[in-house]
Symmetry: none
Subunit: 231 residues, 2 copies
DNA sequence: GCCAATATGACAGTTTGATGACAAAAAATC
DNA sequence: GATTTTTTGTCATCAAACTGTCATATTGGC
C-alpha cells in the first residue's frame, strides 16, 4: 500500500494538492517541477510509479515518458499522465508513448486513488494493499497480519515482505538477485546466500500451520511460491 | 441521516437556495459568507461536511480547503466544492483536488443531495461524531470523554486524538509518519520518535482498566489498535 | 561416490521500540 | 500579570528483536 510515487508537475498549487492526497492514501510522494529534475531524481532512486503532467516547461511530459520507456532500467515503472482535458488526441498520444493510464483534470481525489491502485495492482501487486490468500494462508497488508487456517503466524519484517512478494506473484520463480531487488530494495548490498536464510526462517514460521510446503526451492534458479506439490 | 453542514458562499441568493435544500433533506445547515468566518465557525464546532464555493472574496475557497486539509483536526471533514461551469477552465483545473467532490453550478437539488449523501456515507469514520467503542473501551467525541468499563479515563488532548483516530480505524497499521499526518496535522515538524512517547502515555492511561493491550506495536511498521491478542 | 547447490544452526552487530527524565510551551488559576 | 499546573516534544539509555554472515551439514544430480 505504501508506494514511492514521483509527482512531476510544474504548478505548485496542483502539485501540493496531489502530494497531500497521496500522503493521505498512505503513499510516499516525491516531487519534481520539471522533467529534468525528475530525471535527476530517478537516477538516484527508482520510484514505484510516476504521475506526470502532460504540459511541462522545457522537456514535455510526453518526451520524458518516451525517454523513460526507452531506458531498460526505467521501462518497468508505471506512468500515469495528467492531462488538461479529455482530448482524444492526447489520450492516444499518451498511451502510445507508454503511459499506463491517464487522468484528465479536473479530477477528484477518489478517481486519482482508484486509478493509482488499479495501475499498482497490475504492475506491482504487492504495493496495491490487497489481501492475498493461498490455500488457507492469508496475508493482510493493511493490518499487517498473517494467518494460516485462521491461526496467527508471527513474522519478522523481512519475512513478512518476502512472503508478501511471493504471495503476490505466485507460481513464478525468482532468483536470489531478483528477490533482493524486490524485497530488500534494489540498492542494498547483501549476499545472495542471505536469501536462503530468510527463506528458511519463513518456512520455519509457516511450519506451524503446515504451509511451509508452499515455499519451494527450484534448484539452480531460485525460489517459488506454489500450491502444486513440489516433486 | 442528519448532518451539520457548513455552507460557505458569498452570494446570498445561492446560499439561501442551498440552505433550503439542505433543510428539506433533513440536515442542519450553518452558513458563512467568507472563508474567514468559516474558519471562526469551524474553530467552535466541527461540522460534518463543508459545501464550499471556490470563488470567495478575501481568502479563496481553494485556499480554505488547503488549510483545512493541512490541519489534523479538520482534515477529515469532507469538502464539496461548488464551481461555476462558465469559469475559465484552466483556473478550475486541478484545484478541486483538495476536495472530496465538486458540484458545478447550476446544479439540481437532486444532484446536490445525491452527492452529499454519497460523501457522507464514505466520510472518515472518526469525524462522524459517533461514539466509538471497542471491548469496553468507549470514546465519545461529543462529550470528549473516555471510559474503560464505565470507569473514567483521563487523557491529554493529543492522546485523545490519537486514541480517537486509532479507534476509528481499528486493526489497521499506521506508520509514525501517517499518525503524525493524521493526528498532529501534516504541517507540523515533529520527530517520528515522539509518536512512541505518546503511545506510551496512552498505554499508561489505558492500563488502569486493562485496555492497554489494545494498542499494539508492529515492529518495523508502526502501531495498530486491535482486539486480537498480539502474540 | 563426487560435486555443486541448498539447508541449517549459531553468532555478533545492528536496528528498533520502550521507558524515564527533563525543559520548553501552553493553559489554567489566582 | 504572575504563578502554578498541564501538556508536549526531545533525548539518553536499556532491552529485545532482527539481520547478515559464516561454518557446517545435507541434499540432489550425475
Amino acid at each position: 500500500m505504501s508506494a514511492m510515487i514521483l509527482v512531476v508537475e510544474d504548478e505548485p498549487a496542483i502539485r501540493e494538492l496531489v502530494v497531500l492526497n497521496l500522503q493521505q492514501a498512505g503513499h510516499r510522494p516525491v516531487v519534481a517541477d520539471s522533467a529534468e529534475q525528475a530525471l535527476a531524481l530517478i537516477r538516484e532512486t527508482l520510484p514505484d510509479m510516476i504521475l506526470l503532467d502532460w504540459m511541462l516547461p522545457g522537456m514535455s511530459g510526453v518526451e520524458l515518458a518516451r525517454r523513460l520507456k526507452a531506458d531498460g532500467r526505467t521501462r518497468g515503472v508505471p506512468i500515469i499522465m495528467l492531462t488538461a482535458r479529455g482530448d482524444e488526441q492526447d489520450k492516444i498520444t499518451g498511451l502510445e508513448t507508454g503511459a499506463d493510464d491517464y487522468i484528465t483534470k479536473p479530477f477528484s481525489p477518489r478517481e486519482m486513488n482508484a486509478r493509482i491502485k488499479a495501475v499498482l495492482r497490475r504492475r506491482a501487486p504487492q504495493m496495491a494493499g490487497d489481501v492475498v490468500e493461498v490455500t488457507g494462508l492469508r496475508l493482510d497488508p493493511a493490518t499487517h497480519r498473517v494467518t494460516g487456517n485462521d491461526r496467527p503466524i508471527e513474522l519478522g519484517p523481512t519475512e513478512f515482505r518476502l512472503l508478501h512478494f511471493l504471495m503476490a506473484h505466485p507460481e513464478r520463480v525468482y532468483s536470489r538477485a531478483q528477490l533482493l531487488d524486490q524485497v530488500w530494495g534494489n540498492h542494498v548490498f547483501v549476499e545472495d546466500r542471505t536469501v536462503d536464510v530468510h527463506i528458511r526462517r519463513l518456512r520455519c514460521a509457516l511450519e506451524a500451520t503446515g504451509h511451509d510446503g508452499l515455499v519451494q526451492t527450484v534448484r539452480g534458479s531460485g525460489y517459488r511460491l506454489s500450491v502444486h506439490p513440489n516433486s
